[in-house]
Symmetry: C2
């Protein structure tokens, strides 16, 4: 009997005893459905692609482990599709991937989530999409976090420590994260009754190097900041490294904080105050929603995950003039 197909696909309309009989036989024969045959006959690939831009470092590792988790329980497999966003080849690369492997869904990570050309190309291919932290509020399937509110809280922490001159090193252009974190920074200033001083806002790249460079620029100011909120942990690491190299003490002379809470944040010295983003959970959740929307195009939602502040040793009370060294 080929009712086995129904059993393995968890379809309804199978008498429990029949189902049990099939399952027993399957176990006895050590039967395992052949993925290729399933795909071929079912016009589905049981494959989802994780498309991302190279740089992000540990972020992708964490995200991936969540995606793998979700795929596994759904008997899907995952393929990695790294692309170079800056080379502008990424649209073709991803389209090629779709053409060749026909994944049932694609999980997009910033900044790919908001690339109009890419989205247009993918829309015409008809592949289901899910988004991690998309800038576009329209994105219907995926996972996000209220980064703006998180930064607002982080800023309140700095203000409570007495800081009044707080700088911000921004993230890369075209990332939603860059906008939200900047917005949270401005919210934080406003809530504390502080003016927005654009000389305290330095462009950045989400990179260690841009953090170091930003610190040099900030120290050259007539009135340097006493605290710096860097747009992510890598940038914060660059800021701290440069500060320590110039003989400043953190947090005695300068407070520094980041965003992401990568493992590195605990390991820096001093350990970094940052915002914990549950990246693995976001990968898992976004994938689950993607799988739902694959089964039923109208299913799947954008799930908001909670953040948490990780207050560590890189932030402290504002230095008094007397206590300042060098």
């Amino acid at each position: 009997m080929k009712t086995v197909s129904r059993v393995f696909n968890h379809e309804p309309n199978v008498r429990p005893e029949t189902r049990a009989k099939v399952e027993a036989a399957a176990k006895a024969l050590n039967y395992r459905p052949n993925p290729s045959a399933r795909s071929l006959a079912g016009h589905r690939s049981y494959l989802i692609a994780l498309a991302y831009d190279n740089p992000p470092g540990h972020y992708i590792m964490d995200l991936m482990s969540g995606v793998v988790d979700a795929c596994e329980t759904a008997h899907y497999s995952m393929m990695m599709r790294p692309v170079d966003y800056d080379s502008h080849s990424h649209v073709d690369v991803i389209a090629e991937c779709v053409g060749q492997y026909a994944p049932d869904g694609i999980l997009l990570v910033p900044p790919l989530t908001d690339d109009a050309a890419l989205l247009a190309r993918l829309a015409e291919a008809g592949t289901r999409l899910a988004f991690v932290s998309p800038l576009d509020a329209q994105a219907r399937v995926g996972a996000r976090m209220d980064e703006r509110a998180a930064v607002r809280e982080l800023m309140a922490h700095l203000v409570a420590l007495g800081h009044r001159r707080i700088a911000h090193v921004k993230g890369r252009r075209d990332h939603g994260a860059t906008e939200w974190r900047l917005a949270g920074y401005r919210d934080g200033l406003r809530a504390a009754g502080l003016a927005y001083d654009k000389s305290l806002v330095i462009p950045g790249e989400f990179s260690f190097e841009s953090g170091s460079a930003a610190l040099q620029a900030l120290l050259a100011l007539d009135a340097p900041p006493t605290a710096i909120f860097a747009a992510n942990d890598d940038t914060a690491a660059g800021v701290m490294h440069a500060a320590l190299a110039r003989g400043l003490r953190v947090p005695d002379d300068l407070s520094v904080c980041g965003f992401d809470d990568q493992p590195m944040a605990r390991q820096l010295w001093p350990s970094l105050t940052t915002v914990r983003q549950p990246v693995a959970a976001m990968g898992r959740i976004a994938t689950e929603q993607l799988l739902l929307s694959i089964r039923d195009a109208s299913a799947g939602t954008m799930v908001e995950v909670p953040y948490a502040l990780s207050l560590r040793d890189s932030t402290g009370p504002v230095p008094t003039r007397a206590g300042r060294r060098r």
Copy 2:
């Protein structure tokens, strides 16, 4: 005509003009072979699995990017198979993966490379294997590096700086890396005419935490070391963090070095002296060799890749007694 098959498989015995005709037609029709159908009819999956134990952090990211590279040019796809080595479920998990997806090959990463039970199970399944940094010198296909020689050189660097009491924080049990790095450490001592003092050799786990713990133990010694070689960068980060937290200056009071040259190594303060291991290249090369051995069981070799020392700021001259603080 179904000679197209021959063309797409790069088989011989096709007249050049026929081949050209087929290729032209394929391009015109935007024809792309269907991977599922290929797999089903050809009894191959065109899939290779990357099996690894969770902890390794950035290492797997780098390795993966090399593996993806190699797979892509060979029109293979890669699947990630993370396992929990300590839970002892890993053999079943990997066997399950083989049963379900029948990958044409599996790339093993330490410590899976040397797990006898796993290798036995995989051997009976008949899947082709490739190894990254296997302990077993018999492993015939994959990529490795002369870690022992690398550490020997690193030790020579410390000795040249005047260090005589050099400690070592070991890696996890069952890792080839742990043995080689220890052997290199002993080689280095021997070359400098220094005695092996087992109180200076502390167990570790390749983790930040084990590095911190090791530092505490070493400082409790009557004659603490002036330099510490940690078995990897994570461990070294833990050592440095704990040292700085205790008020020691690196490298003025204590020199520290690691192994791997992960991106983090540049970003620590002070930046970390370490051994550069070309992980991405190893992933690519091991995959290439695996693919060769899939086509022809007798093909594929173990390729040795070169190392390089990254001498940075965490190592310096041995402190004079007078210069020592606290």
